[in-house]
């Protein structure tokens, strides 16, 4: 492997990281929105959300990516590989995040909600000032866990021709006829990314703990 090969895999790591980040930034609030729909039992949307979560959670991300990339043009929406990849990742992470947010909402102590109600807080204010700060905290570990799984499912979009870590490593391996070294570099890069997420979670948790102590 030459320096250029290493560089190409590291460059692909930026694609992996940025696609993961974009899909997380879009998918976490989307999941929260869907969880709130389920929590408030909005008549029709509740049903739709249940179906959406059930199907997307069980659908392999490769199949979802292929469906979005090849089938959407049939109904007149054609996407380039990168937006299609981001859409795939966002839709799938949102489904998992919905379940995480929902379980936090289910476990939220009812009395606090009622207390906020008795202070005459409006729905939006109750949500923003009482519910959200606490469920963000209680679902943080599960959300970060899902983010690391998300990083690991990014190679699924390689089937659309997007060059991310795995695909870059395969290219180098195919050119040099030595598949093992690039794979080990790729493995190291994934570990670093996953570790960064876990590390960030620890830092945030420590900050929460310090806020508690003071």
């Amino acid at each position: 492997m030459t320096a250029h090969d290493y560089l190409s895999i590291v460059q692909a790591a930026f694609a992996t990281v940025s696609m993961s980040l974009v899909s997380i930034v879009l998918g976490v609030p989307l999941g929260l929105g869907l969880a709130l729909i389920r929590w408030s039992r909005l008549p029709l949307l509740n049903r739709a959300t249940i179906v959406y979560v059930s199907i997307v959670r069980t659908c392999p991300s490769v199949t979802l990516a292929l469906l979005i990339f090849f089938a959407l043009p049939e109904v007149g929406i054609s996407l380039d590989p990168v937006p299609a990849g981001i859409l795939t990742l966002t839709l799938s992470t949102a489904a998992f995040n919905t379940e995480i947010w929902r379980s936090a909402l289910m476990n939220f102590p009812r009395d606090q909600y009622d207390a906020a109600l008795s202070f005459g807080m409006r729905r939006g204010l109750r949500l923003r000032r009482v519910v959200l700060p606490q469920i963000v905290r209680s679902s943080l570990p599960a959300l970060v866990n899902e983010m690391t799984l998300q990083v690991k499912s990014t190679p699924a979009v390689a089937v659309l021709g997007i060059v991310e870590i795995t695909r870059a490593a395969i290219r180098v391996g195919a050119r040099t006829y030595q598949p093992l070294p690039p794979f080990i570099v790729a493995l190291a890069l994934y570990s670093i990314i996953v570790f960064a997420f876990v590390r960030t979670q620890r830092v945030i948790e420590r900050r929460y703990a310090r806020a508690d102590a003071s």
């Binding site: 069980t58 392999p60 292929l66 090849f70 870590i165 493995l187 996953v194």
Partner: protein, 217 residues
């Protein structure tokens, strides 16, 4: 709607892929569960070195994306002189990868086991393999049932990655149907529905098994 007609006419392709997926998933589930249960023993070993080695294996599997691991098995093993055809290397990759996850979730269930249970086993003269099989494994399995169910669904989803090494499973068949007849929407929807049916079946079976386990406890 025309697309669905074409898919229906060539349903044997999709069904063939579906059967293949089910076969692969069944083999991978049995294999990874057995190996995972065995790997739990060194994971829980009192010897630091043994436990450390097993932990390295588990942690590595948890860091590698499955797709990368498939390529590693498919392209990497031949350079060590071990050669498989596509289908077997796909199954081997699924088994080895999920063994790490199975071992980890069984380990967590084992660690939560009350100490008294094992001490009682010792008092009745159970040691080594007998202790593991008769005293430790049954309650561990019962409490890990929901997690094992989740892992089975993960295996179903991972099996779709095997399309990259041309294993003729469901996603691969859906792709070849769509490239031959250009019916992307219908063929992928068919695949998604079949995956969904599989996973819902697994979920409800696991739910049933869990109620049975609760009743026995």
């Amino acid at each position: 709607m025309n697309g669905f007609n074409i898919v229906w006419q060539h349903r044997d392709m999709i069904i063939g892929g579906f059967e293949n997926t089910l076969m692969i998933v069944a083999l991978a589930a049995i294999g990874s569960f057995t190996l995972g249960a065995l790997l739990t023993i060194p994971l829980m070993s009192r010897h630091r070195g043994v436990a450390g080695l097993a932990t390295v294996y588990v942690d590595t599997m948890r860091c590698v994306p499955f797709l990368l691991f498939v390529y590693l098995i498919y392209f990497g093993l031949p350079s060590l002189g071990i050669q498989f055809d596509n289908w077997s290397s796909g199954v081997v990759a699924l088994i080895l990868y999920n063994t790490g996850y199975m071992a980890e979730l069984l380990r967590a269930a084992w660690a939560n086991l009350p100490k008294e249970l094992i001490e009682a086993g010792h008092a009745f003269g159970f040691v080594g393999w007998g202790l593991f099989r008769r005293i430790i494994l049954p309650p561990v399995l019962f409490s890990a049932i929901p997690l094992i169910g989740n892992q089975l669904i993960q295996i179903v989803k991972d099996s779709a990655f095997l399309t990259v090494i041309a294993v003729g499973e469901l996603t691969h068949q859906a792709t070849s149907l769509q490239t031959t007849y250009f019916v992307p929407f219908a063929s992928f929807i068919a695949a998604v529905v079949l995956y969904w049916v599989t996973c819902v079946t697994i979920e409800s079976t696991v739910g049933f098994a869990n109620r049975f386990a609760e009743a026995r406890r």
